[in-house]
C-alpha cells in the first residue's frame, strides 16, 4: 500500500512540476503587455487546469480499470451495458463546465471587438513581403513608411552567424506611445496576410480590398515582435512585425523627427521638379 502511495505522490508531483515548467517558461504565451493579452493568458492557464483535472479524472478511472480489470489477473467481466442516470449526469456536467469556460471568454471577446474612441489610428497594409504603415489620426498623423525584414540574407543562408532577433527584426519599427488606445486598421495589397503581435494580444487577417480593425493599449514601453500569420507566398516567413512602445515624451520626439524628415523629403521632391 505504502509503495503505491509513494508512487502516486511521485507521479502527481512530476506532473505538477512539468506543468508548472510549461506554464512558467518561454514556451507559454509571451509575457502579456496589454489588457487583452493578459485576459487571454489568464484564461488559457485557467482552462489548462480544468483540462488537467478532467484528464486526471477520466484517465485515473481508465488506468485503474486497465490495471485491475484484466484477464491476466483473473478478473471476470461484468455484463452491464447502460445506465440512463449515469449517462445524463455525464452529459450535464460537461455542459456546466463549458458554460463556466464561456463566460469570461465572452467578456473578453466583447472588449476585443470594441475599437471605438481610440487615441490614435494606424493603418497597416500587408504586401508581398513587407508591411506598410500610415498614421491616420492622433499624434503622428501623416507619418507613413514601409517596414521590411532587416536580417541579412547571408544569415538565413547560413553564411553568417544568426543574431538574437533573427527573422524578427525590421528596418522601420511601428512606434506607439505607452498607455494610449491604438486602433490598427488592417488591409492588404495583394494576397492575405495577418498582422500579429503576440504580446499585445492582436492578430487580424489583412484582406485585400477589405478593411478590418483591432486595437491594443500597451502597458509598458518595450519592443514587441510578431510575424505575418497567414500564408502569403514564398517569403511568408520573412515579413515580421516589430512594435516599439515609447513613453509619451520619447514618442513626441520620434514624431517630430519623422515629420521633419518627411518634410525634407517633400521639399526636396518639390525642388527637384
Amino acid at each position: 500500500m505504502r509503495s503505491k502511495l509513494v508512487a502516486t505522490l511521485a507521479g502527481v508531483s512530476t506532473l505538477a512540476l512539468y506543468s508548472s515548467m510549461a506554464v512558467g517558461s518561454k514556451y507559454n504565451f509571451p509575457e502579456p503587455q496589454s489588457i487583452i493579452a493578459r485576459e487571454t493568458y489568464d484564461m488559457h492557464i485557467w482552462i489548462m487546469w480544468i483540462c488537467l483535472a478532467i484528464f486526471i479524472g477520466v484517465f485515473g478511472v481508465m488506468f485503474y480499470s486497465i490495471l485491475k480489470h484484466r484477464k491476466s489477473v483473473g478478473y471476470k467481466a461484468a455484463n452491464f451495458h447502460h445506465s440512463t442516470t449515469v449517462e445524463i449526469i455525464w452529459t450535464v456536467i460537461p455542459c456546466i463546465i463549458l458554460v463556466v469556460m464561456a463566460l469570461p471568454a465572452t467578456k473578453t471577446v466583447i472588449s476585443m471587438k470594441d475599437t471605438s474612441s481610440p487615441d490614435m489610428t494606424i493603418k497597416a497594409t500587408g504586401y508581398q513581403w513587407m508591411w506598410g504603415y500610415d498614421y491616420l489620426q492622433g499624434e503622428g498623423e501623416g507619418i507613413s513608411f514601409y517596414s521590411k525584414l532587416s536580417t541579412p540574407r547571408a544569415q538565413y543562408e547560413n553564411k553568417e552567424p544568426k543574431g538574437e532577433n533573427y527573422l524578427l527584426e525590421v528596418d522601420n519599427r511601428v512606434v506607439v506611445p505607452v498607455g494610449k488606445k491604438v486602433r490598427v486598421i488592417i488591409t492588404a495589397n495583394d494576397v492575405l496576410h495577418a498582422w500579429w503581435v503576440p504580446a499585445l494580444g492582436v492578430k487580424q487577417d489583412a484582406i485585400p480590398g477589405f478593411i478590418r480593425d483591432s486595437w491594443f493599449t500597451a502597458d509598458a514601453p518595450g519592443i514587441y515582435r510578431g510575424q505575418c500569420a497567414e500564408l502569403c507566398g514564398k517569403d511568408h516567413g520573412f515579413m515580421p512585425i516589430v512594435v516599439e512602445v515609447m513613453n509619451a515624451d520619447d514618442y513626441s520626439k520620434w514624431v517630430a523627427a519623422q515629420l521633419s524628415a518627411s518634410a525634407v523629403k517633400t521639399s526636396m521632391h518639390i525642388e527637384n521638379k
Binding site: 518561454k26 514556451y27 507559454n28 504565451f29 509571451p30 487571454t40 484564461m43 482552462i47 489548462m48 483540462c51 478532467i54 477520466v58 484517465f59 481508465m62 480499470s65 486497465i66 480489470h69 484484466r70 484477464k71 478478473y75 467481466a77 461484468a78 455484463n79 452491464f80 451495458h81 447502460h82 455525464w90 452529459t91 469556460m101 464561456a102 471568454a105 465572452t106 473578453t108 471577446v109 476585443m112 544569415q155 538565413y156 547560413n158 544568426k162 532577433n165 533573427y166 527573422l167 524578427l168 492575405l192 503576440p198 494580444g201 492578430k203 487580424q204 484582406i207 485585400p208 480590398g209 477589405f210 500569420a229 497567414e230 500564408l231 502569403c232 507566398g233 514564398k234 511568408h236 516567413g237
Partner: protein, 528 residues
C-alpha cells in the same frame, strides 16, 4: 483475355474471377476493392509521409538548408492534401468496403460496378496531384486550404490540384452513396438499425456528411478555377468579390470533413474496446445519438477556422458556443468507452493497445480543441504550431491510430493469417513514443509564437523544432515496420481461426471463416 463474368452469379458460387492484373482492374468484389483502397491509401501515406519528412528536415535547424521557401510551401500544401484526400479518407472507405457488407450480412456493396469506378478514379487523381510537382512552376503552394488570392497566383500546379480535387470528390460521393444504399437496403433479416454494429452506424452518418459537403468543395474549387481562367471575380475584391467568401464555403466543407475523418475511427474503436474488454459496448444508443449530434453540430461551426478573418461579435460568439458544444457528445463517447472497459476482462493485443492509445491521445487533441474554440485564445494560436499540434493529435493519433487498430483487428479475417504480436506491440509503442515526441512539443512552439507554414524560424524555437524533427523521422521509420509486418502476416503469418478474439460478436467473426470467402453471405444470416 479471360472472359469476365465474376460479377454474374446465379449458377455457382466459387471463386470464379479473372486472375492477374485484370482481376484488380475489372473487379466488382467488395473485398478486392477494399484491399485496393487500403493499399492505395498506404502508398499515399508513404508519399505524404515523405513530404512530411522533407518539411521536418528543413525545420530541423534554423536557416534554409534543404528546401527553398517556394518548394517548402509546395511540400506543406501537398502533404496536407495527400494525407487528407489520399491517405486517411480512402483508408476508411477501404474499411467500409471490406467490413460493411460482412458486418451487416450482405453479399457485396449495393452498386458493385460503381464501386470499381469510385476506386479507379483515385489513382488518376493521385497522379495529377503528385505529378504537379513536375510541371512548370511546381505544385500548388497556397496551403492545403488554398485560400485565394494566393491560390489565384499559382501556375499549372494549382489547376492540376483543382482537377484532382474534383475527381477525388466524385469518387467520395460515389463511394458514400454506395455505402448509404448498402446499409439501408442490404442488412440481414432481423438486423434493425439499432442493432447495427457501431462501425456501420458511424459510416452511415459519415456517408451522409460526405454527400452533403463534397459538392460544396467541388463548387468552391470550380469557382476558383473560373476566377483563375475565365474572368470571374468570386473571390477578387477588385471585381466585386470577396476573398473571405472562399473561406466560408471552403470551411463549410472543411469542418464536416474533419468529422468525416474521425467518425469512422470512433466506429472502429467502438468495435475493438468491447471485444477486448469481453463486455458489450456501454451506452450503445447514446453512442449513436452522440455520433449523430457531432455530425449535425459539425455543420454549424465552420467559422471557428476564421476567427481572425474578422466577423461580427455575435458571429464569433455563436461559433465559439457551437464549437464548445461538440465537446459534450465527444465527451459522452469517451465516457462510454471508459465505462465499457470498467469491470471488463481486458487483454491487450495490438488492436486494443492502439484503441487505448487512440482514446488517450484523442482526448488530448480534444482538450486543445476546446482551448482553440475559445475565441481570444484561438486568435493567439490560430495559424501557429499549436493548431498543427492540435489537428495532428486528432488526425494522426486519432484517425490514423484507429486505422492501425482496425487493420490489426481485422487482418486475420482479411488474410486468414495472424500478424506478429511482438512486432505489432513494437509498432504501437514506437509510434506512441515518436508521435508524442513530434507533436507534443509543437504545442509549446505555437504558444511561444511560431507561425505555421514558415520554412525558417527564430533561434528561440530551435530546440523544440529539433526534438520534433527527430520524433518525426522516428515516426516515419516506424511505419516501415508496419509495412513489413503486414507483408510478413500475409506471407508467413500463422493460420488464423474463425475468431481469434474471444470477445468478438459481430457477424464476420461469428459466421465467416478466416479468411473470409471471396463471396460471403449469399444467403443472409438471421440476426436475432
Amino acid at each position: 483475355m479471360a472472359a469476365v463474368h465474376g460479377d454474374v452469379h446465379g449458377h455457382e458460387h466459387d471463386d470464379h474471377h479473372p486472375s492477374g492484373i485484370m482481376r484488380w482492374v475489372k473487379t466488382t468484389n467488395h473485398k478486392d476493392i477494399g484491399t485496393m483502397y487500403l493499399w492505395f491509401s498506404f502508398a499515399m501515406f508513404m508519399v505524404g509521409g515523405f513530404l512530411a519528412m522533407g518539411i521536418r528536415a528543413e525545420l530541423y535547424q534554423p536557416g534554409i538548408q534543404i528546401l527553398q521557401p517556394e518548394l517548402f510551401n509546395q511540400f506543406t500544401t501537398l502533404h496536407g492534401l495527400i494525407m487528407v484526400f489520399g491517405a486517411i479518407m480512402p483508408a476508411f472507405v477501404g474499411f467500409a468496403n471490406w467490413q460493411v457488407p460482412m458486418m451487416i450480412g450482405a453479399p457485396d456493396m449495393a452498386f458493385a460496378r460503381m464501386n470499381n469506378w469510385s476506386f479507379w478514379l483515385l489513382p488518376v487523381a493521385a497522379t495529377m496531384l503528385v505529378g504537379s510537382f513536375f510541371v512548370p512552376g511546381g505544385a500548388a503552394a497556397g496551403g492545403w486550404t488554398f485560400y485565394p488570392p494566393l491560390s489565384t497566383q499559382g501556375g499549372l500546379g494549382v489547376d492540376l490540384m483543382i482537377f484532382s480535387v474534383h475527381v477525388l470528390g466524385a469518387s467520395s460521393i460515389m463511394g458514400s452513396i454506395n455505402i448509404i444504399t448498402t446499409i439501408l437496403n442490404m442488412r440481414a433479416p432481423g438486423m434493425t438499425m439499432m442493432k447495427m454494429p457501431m462501425f456501420v452506424w458511424t459510416w452511415l452518418i459519415t456517408a451522409y456528411l460526405l454527400v452533403l459537403v463534397m459538392p460544396v468543395l467541388a463548387g468552391v474549387v470550380t469557382m476558383l478555377l473560373t476566377d483563375r481562367h475565365f474572368g470571374t471575380s468570386f473571390f477578387n475584391a477588385a471585381g466585386g468579390g470577396d476573398p473571405v467568401l472562399f473561406q466560408h464555403i471552403f470551411w463549410f466543407f472543411g469542418h464536416p470533413e474533419v468529422y468525416i475523418m474521425i467518425l469512422p475511427a470512433f466506429g472502429i474503436v467502438s468495435e475493438i474496446i468491447p471485444t477486448f474488454s469481453r463486455k458489450p459496448l456501454f451506452g450503445y444508443s447514446s453512442m449513436v445519438y452522440a455520433t449523430a449530434s457531432i455530425a449535425i453540430l459539425s455543420c454549424i461551426v465552420w467559422a471557428h477556422h476564421m476567427f481572425t478573418a474578422g466577423m461580427p461579435t455575435v458571429g464569433q460568439l455563436f461559433f465559439m458556443y457551437a464549437t464548445m458544444l461538440i465537446a459534450v457528445p465527444t465527451g459522452v463517447k469517451v465516457f462510454n468507452w471508459t465505462a465499457t472497459m470498467w469491470r471488463g476482462s481486458m487483454t491487450f493485443e495490438t488492436p486494443m493497445l492502439f484503441a487505448i492509445g487512440f482514446i488517450f491521445l484523442f482526448v488530448i487533441g480534444g482538450f486543445s480543441g476546446v482551448i482553440c474554440a475559445i475565441v481570444p485564445i484561438d486568435i493567439q494560436v490560430q495559424d501557429t504550431y499549436y493548431v498543427i499540434a492540435h489537428f495532428h493529435y486528432v488526425l494522426v493519433s486519432g484517425a490514423l491510430f484507429a486505422l492501425f487498430a482496425g487493420v490489426y483487428y481485422w487482418i486475420p479475417k482479411w488474410t486468414g493469417h495472424m500478424y506478429s504480436e511482438t512486432l505489432g506491440k513494437w509498432h504501437f509503442w514506437l509510434s506512441m513514443f515518436f508521435f508524442n515526441a513530434t507533436f507534443f512539443v509543437q504545442h509549446f512552439l505555437g504558444l511561444a509564437g511560431m507561425p505555421r507554414r514558415i520554412p525558417d524560424y527564430n533561434l528561440q524555437f530551435a530546440d523544440f523544432n529539433m526534438i520534433s524533427s527527430l520524433g518525426a523521422f522516428g515516426f516515419g521509420l516506424t511505419q516501415l515496420l508496419f509495412l513489413y509486418l503486414v507483408i510478413d502476416c500475409i506471407r508467413n503469418g500463422e493460420k488464423a481461426p474463425q475468431s481469434p478474439w474471444d470477445g468478438a460478436t459481430t457477424l464476420e467473426w461469428t459466421h465467416l471463416p478466416s479468411p473470409a470467402p471471396y463471396h460471403s453471405f449469399e444467403t443472409p444470416p438471421i440476426v436475432k
